[in-house]
């Protein structure tokens, strides 16, 4: 899915890193180096997602977010923050941001989250009661999962994990995203606990079937479908 992205970042290194990466991934990217220019572009142009750094000359990131939201602009915004600042996800999300990433970040993390954000706004599927990926079908109302004709038994947590993966089908989902969305906590795990849960899920939905739907994307995360 090709996205149109605007990044408002005054740090040239970070900006060029992101711009280059996004272009290589096939997306269209605009860059603004200061707050005022960024706000102007964001207000006048149509983007699928915005990346806004908190510390900007002339107008800071949170103010930009608040202004856009106040003006009725619902473009998904991912806020960037430097490692040295106080961990203020809550502030950022309260200001109207949709996601929050601390520098330095892995590019794969940024892309995965951006795509998730853009997808969320383009196709609001939170209300879809039936999800389908290939021959894997999930009924969110009855909490039943079938692959082909086979009924798959899932524990509550496994169900939520699969649900999230299906809502983001075709997209890369990072471990951090899973921890935040499926387990609803923001923390640093010491070991890759997520991997174990994924492999269990995989053994339930993929093992006895021809086509593997759940794949591991090295250095990034997982993708269903």
């Amino acid at each position: 899915m090709r996205m149109r992205v605007l990044i408002i970042e005054d740090d040239n290194e970070v900006a060029s890193f992101v711009v280059k990466g996004l272009k290589e991934a096939g997306h269209a990217v605009d860059r603004a180096a200061d707050g005022k220019e960024g706000l102007l572009l964001a207000s006048t142009e149509d983007y699928d997602a915005l990346i806004v750094d908190r510390m900007l000359p002339s107008l800071d990131g949170l103010s930009i977010v608040q202004t856009l939201r106040g003006a009725g602009n619902h473009t998904p915004i991912l806020i960037l923050s430097a490692l040295g600042e106080v961990d203020d996800r809550v502030k950022g999300l309260k200001a109207g941001g949709d996601d929050y990433l601390v520098k330095p970040f892995a590019f794969s993390e940024l892309v995965a989250r951006l795509e998730a954000l853009a997808r969320r706004s383009l196709a609001p599927e939170a209300t879809e009661s039936r999800l389908e990926v290939g021959d894997l079908v999930m009924d969110r109302l009855t909490r039943e999962v079938h692959r082909g004709a086979v009924k798959i038994d899932l524990k509550p947590r496994e169900f939520r994990l699969l649900e999230y993966l299906m809502l983001h089908r075709g997209q890369v989902v990072t471990r951090t995203m899973l921890l935040e969305q499926v387990w609803d906590y923001h923390f640093d795990p010491q070991t890759n606990v997520i991997d174990v849960h994924i492999s269990r899920l995989r053994s339930k939905i993929d093992k006895d079937f021809d086509v593997a739907l759940l794949e591991t994307v090295r250095g990034a995360g997982y993708r269903l479908g």
Binding site: V86, V90, A106, Y185, H186, F187, Q190, T191, H197
Partner: protein, 460 residues
């Protein structure tokens, strides 16, 4: 030279608050004494003076009666009788004519008197005992005759003089003593303070092991010395801690950094793009690990210094503990470790949900990591008095009692665990989060294994 030093020292003594207090108290004392002295003077010497005057007045009245009833002759005779009757009484009489020539009395001639309005005179009387002061009243009688009635007040004068001298000398001496005492006290206080200053300067120039001398009298200076010494102990301990951590950091960060550099160098040298790609991926993994370590270090530092803007909300412990156990259930099963949860209705606490989850996760992660296959990890949460208690117990090798304190330090790894993955900061972070929430940690022997007990106050 010595003079200059002495002068400087004197100036310092004079500037001390002790000396200034002494001067203040001395002045107040002097004022009080003056008031007392004034009162004494009025009541003793003043009294005597008033008595003398009263006696003279009485004499005068008596003589006036005589004169009015019996005339001049009688008056003269009464005067003569009085003089002869009591020659040592000190009374002075002189009855003189209009030319001030003596007619009767015990004065040889009319004394030199300065004129006064109130009728009272003071003069010098020449008698057998030399010149003495005298006080008298003078009347004009009929036909120009004058009468002088007085008393010698030599004794009174002597008393007054003595009194005054006594007061002046005594007061002066007292004041001098007070000032000297003040100066000595101040000098002694100054010496104590100077000794503290010297020690402080030595400490500041680098010798942190020095302590301020305590004289053992338990006075306020000793108390100050004790407080300062305790503070110095704590500072020394903290600095040692920092030095220790810095050493550990240097060592533990160098390893992944070296691996990273090696991997990148290999990638650079390699002619095979696949190998190069793989080395770069490995380098990225090391870089990620380093970043994770730095992030954790930063969190710990911020939590400890109070700079962390943590959430304060009510956190339901049952849900938290269940989620943590649920997260690690799969991993435990992989290692054939039984992970059990024992929830006994723990109260909710005030704090940061994510931080507390991190604390639990680190403890459970450690427990699973260090428990061999087929082992057992138990997580329990229950109320205890005013607190909520969470315990994580494993059946692993446990930790030597001697090392249980050190294990909470940053980067500290018990030797056997050095090969395990992780950055050695897990328990440090747990410790920092616990402290942030006002909670206490206790490590004990699970027989076998390690039991970690976290005691959280319900309102932190």
């Amino acid at each position: 030279m010595a003079q200059a030093i002495a002068l400087a020292k004197l100036r310092r003594v004079l500037r001390t608050s002790t000396f200034q207090l002494t001067v203040l108290y001395g002045s107040l004392f002097a004022v009080a004494i003056s008031i007392l002295a004034g009162f004494l003077y009025w009541s003793t010497v003043g009294y005597l003076q008033r008595q003398t005057d009263a006696t003279i007045e009485a004499e005068v009245l008596g003589l006036a009666e005589q004169y009015q009833s019996s005339g001049l002759r009688r008056l003269a005779r009464v005067i003569r009788e009085r003089i002869e009757g009591d020659p040592d009484s000190g009374a002075l009489y002189l009855f003189a004519d209009r030319n001030l020539l003596p007619l009767a009395g015990n004065l040889p001639r009319w004394p030199a008197l300065a004129s006064r309005a109130d009728g009272w005179y003071s003069f010098e009387h020449e008698g057998e005992d030399g010149r003495v002061a005298a006080r008298a009243r003078v009347f004009a009688l009929s036909e120009g005759l004058v009468l002088l009635v007085g008393r010698k007040i030599g004794d009174l004068e002597a008393i007054t003089q003595r009194f005054r001298n006594g007061l002046l000398w005594g007061g002066g001496l007292a004041l001098v003593l007070a000032l000297l005492a003040g100066a000595f006290m101040s000098a002694s206080v100054l010496r104590r303070v100077e000794s503290m200053n010297t020690t402080a300067r030595q400490i500041m120039s680098g010798d942190l092991s020095r302590r301020i001398d305590s004289r053992g009298t338990g006075d306020e200076f000793d108390q100050l010395a004790d407080s300062l010494n305790s503070m110095l102990e704590e500072i020394e301990r903290l600095l040692d801690g920092i030095r220790h951590v810095a050493d550990n950091i240097a060592h533990d960060l160098r390893t992944p950094l070296t691996r990273l550099c090696n991997a990148l160098e290999e990638a650079e040298r390699s002619t095979d793009p696949v190998v190069a790609r793989e080395r770069v991926t490995a380098a990225l993994a090391d870089a990620d690990q380093l970043l994770g370590t730095f992030r954790a270090l930063l969190r710990i530092a911020r939590l400890e210094s109070g700079g962390y803007e943590a959430d304060t909300a009510t956190v339901g412990l049952p849900a938290l503990v269940e989620d943590a156990v649920d997260l690690y259930q799969a991993l435990a099963e992989e290692k054939s470790i039984g992970l059990h949860l024992d929830l006994k209705d723990p109260p909710s606490v005030t704090g940061d949900r994510d931080l507390l989850f991190q604390l639990l996760v680190n403890l459970i992660d450690n427990a699973i990591k260090y428990t061999p296959e087929g082992g057992r990890v138990e997580v329990a949460a229950f109320p205890d008095g005013e607190d909520a208690v969470i315990t994580v117990s494993d059946s692993g090798p446990g930790i030597d009692p001697a090392l249980r304190e050190r294990v909470l330090e940053r980067f500290f790894r018990v030797d056997e665990s050095r090969r395990q993955p992780g950055n050695g900061l897990g328990l440090s972070l747990v410790h920092a989060i616990a402290r942030h929430h006002g909670a206490t940690l206790a490590l004990s022997d699970n027989e076998p294994g390690l039991k970690v007990l976290v005691r959280l106050p319900v309102t932190s």
